[in-house]
C-alpha cells in the first residue's frame, strides 16, 4: 500500500492505495464521485475521462500510485460553485446532446479539454477529438452541435436537429 495525496475538484484528498488501484476506482468507490463512468473496461469508450493536471485522460487506464500530487478534475468539478452549468454543459442541454447520458461525463470532459486548447474548433477537429469517446445513442450529430454552440459557432436560436 502507498499513500497518495491528490487535489480532486479543489479538495485535498489523501488515500491508501494498492499498486493496481485505478484512478476511476478511487474516484467512484472511495470518494463517491460516481459521475465518472466505466463503460467498457478495455480502454476504448472514454466514459471515464477526467482531467489530470489539466489533461484529459482515461481514469480506467491509470494507476493512482503513479500520480501522487496531481490535480484531478471530474465531471462534478465542471459546473460553477453555485451549480451553474458550464457553457458546454448548457450547450449539451440545449442541443439535445445526450440521450441515455451514460457517455456524457466523458464527452464533456474530452470536449472541455478541446475547447481549452482550441477555443473555436472546426467540425472536423471536434470529430477527430471525439475518437476516444463512444456514444451508442445519438450518432454524435448533436454532440458536435453542442461543441459548436459552446464555442459560439452556432446561432443560439437554432433548434436541435431531431
Amino acid at each position: 500500500m502507498t499513500t497518495v495525496s491528490l487535489t480532486v475538484n479543489g479538495r485535498a484528498v489523501s488515500a491508501e492505495v494498492e499498486g493496481r488501484t485505478l484512478l476511476v476506482d478511487l474516484l467512484r468507490d472511495r470518494l463517491g464521485l460516481t459521475g465518472t463512468h466505466v463503460g467498457c473496461d478495455t480502454s476504448q469508450c472514454g466514459a471515464c475521462t477526467v482531467h489530470v493536471d489539466g489533461m484529459a485522460v482515461k481514469s480506467c487506464t491509470m494507476f493512482v500510485a503513479e500520480i501522487d500530487g496531481a490535480t484531478v478534475t471530474t465531471i462534478e468539478g465542471i459546473a460553477g460553485p453555485d451549480g451553474a452549468l458550464s457553457p458546454l454543459q448548457q450547450a449539451f442541454r440545449e442541443q439535445h446532446g445526450l440521450q441515455c447520458g451514460y457517455c456524457t461525463p466523458g464527452m464533456i470532459m474530452a470536449l472541455t479539454a478541446l475547447l481549452q486548447e482550441t477555443p473555436k474548433p472546426t467540425e472536423a477537429e471536434i470529430r477527430h477529438h471525439l475518437e476516444g469517446n463512444i456514444c451508442r445513442c445519438t450518432g454524435y450529430v448533436n454532440i458536435v452541435r453542442a461543441a459548436l454552440a459552446a464555442s459560439g459557432q452556432l446561432a443560439p436560436d437554432t433548434g436541435a436537429a431531431h
Binding site: 494498492e18 499498486g19 472514454g46 475521462t49 494507476f63 503513479e66 478541446l114 475518437e131 476516444g132
Partner: protein, 263 residues
C-alpha cells in the same frame, strides 16, 4: 487484475535496479499494458513506473537529428515535433485518441512493437537509433518480429534519435474500430537515399520494402511504385482484410505517401 507492487523511481539507475527483480516489468504510458493487466494476460509481481524519471522526457534537436525521450507522450510529439519533423508530428497526432495520446509514450510503443503500431514505421523508415539503458540499437536490429524487439530483460529505452529527412509522410489506413493501422506506410526521403517502412501488414511485424526504396532512389515519383510487384512478405490475413488486400494497400499507400511528399 492480479495484485502487484508499483514503484515510481526517480532515476534510470534506480529503475534498472528495480527491474532486476524476478517478474518485475516496466510501465511506460500504460495504454496497452493496463488493459492487458485487466484482462489478466500479464501478471507481473512488480511494475516499475518510468514516469518519475525526468531525463526520459522531452524533445531536442541535435545536429540533423531529432532526439525524443522514451517517456515523451504522443501528444507532446504531435505538438513539439511540428516544426522540426512535421510527418512525425502528424503520425503522433493520429495515434489512438486524445486521451491515449496524453498518456501513451514513444518508448512504450516501440518496446511493445505491436505489428499495427504507427511509430515503428517511422523509426524503421528513417533509420533511427534506439538508445537504451545499455546500448545503442539501429532500427534494423531493434525490430525482430511481432511484439518482439532486441531489448533484453530489464533493458529500458532511453531515447530515440531520428535523422530528420528532407521530406517525409506517413500514410495510414485506419482499422476503424481500433484506430491502429490496418496498414500504414512511412516514406522518408533523404539526400542520398529513401526509406520505406510498412506497418500493420506483415506477420513479421514492421518491415522495410527494399524494392520500393531502390525504385524511389532512382525516381522519386508514385509511378515508380506502381511499376513494382507488391512487397514479398507473409502478409496478415484476418477478418479485416486478406493478405492480398494488405499487400495491395502497402503499395497504394506508398504511392500516396510519395505523392504527398512531392517531387
Amino acid at each position: 487484475m492480479h495484485a502487484f507492487d508499483l514503484v515510481v523511481p526517480a532515476s534510470l539507475e534506480e529503475a534498472v535496479a528495480q527491474l532486476a527483480e524476478e517478474e518485475a516489468q516496466p510501465l511506460a504510458g500504460g495504454q496497452t499494458l493496463i488493459p492487458t493487466l485487466k484482462a489478466r494476460l500479464a501478471a507481473p509481481s512488480k511494475l516499475v513506473s518510468l514516469r518519475g524519471i525526468a531525463a526520459l522526457r522531452g524533445l531536442a534537436q541535435q545536429g540533423g537529428e531529432l532526439v525524443i525521450g522514451a517517456m515523451t507522450t504522443h501528444a507532446t510529439v504531435a505538438r513539439e515535433a511540428r516544426a522540426p519533423f512535421p510527418a512525425l508530428a502528424a503520425l503522433a497526432g493520429n495515434i489512438g485518441d486524445p486521451m491515449v495520446r496524453n498518456r501513451g509514450t514513444i518508448g512504450g510503443s516501440l518496446a511493445n512493437n505491436d505489428p499495427s503500431a504507427c511509430y515503428p514505421a517511422a523509426v524503421l523508415a528513417t533509420g533511427a537509433t534506439v538508445v537504451t539503458s545499455a546500448r545503442e540499437l539501429a532500427a534494423d536490429e531493434f525490430f525482430q518480429g511481432m511484439f518482439t524487439t532486441a531489448l533484453e530483460e530489464g533493458e529500458i529505452i532511453r531515447q530515440v534519435r531520428f535523422p530528420i529527412p528532407v521530406g517525409a509522410h506517413y500514410e495510414k489506413f485506419w482499422q476503424p474500430a481500433s484506430r491502429f493501422a490496418l496498414t500504414g506506410v512511412f516514406v522518408a526521403r533523404f539526400d542520398a537515399a529513401v526509406g520505406v517502412a510498412v506497418t500493420g501488414a506483415s506477420e513479421n511485424g514492421v518491415f522495410r520494402w527494399h524494392a520500393a526504396e531502390a525504385a524511389l532512389a532512382e525516381a522519386f515519383a508514385p509511378a515508380a511504385i506502381a511499376a513494382l510487384d507488391p512487397p514479398d512478405e507473409p502478409m496478415i490475413a484476418d477478418l479485416h482484410g486478406s493478405a492480398e488486400y494488405r499487400a495491395h494497400l502497402a503499395q497504394v499507400l506508398t504511392a500516396r505517401a510519395v505523392a504527398a511528399i512531392g517531387a
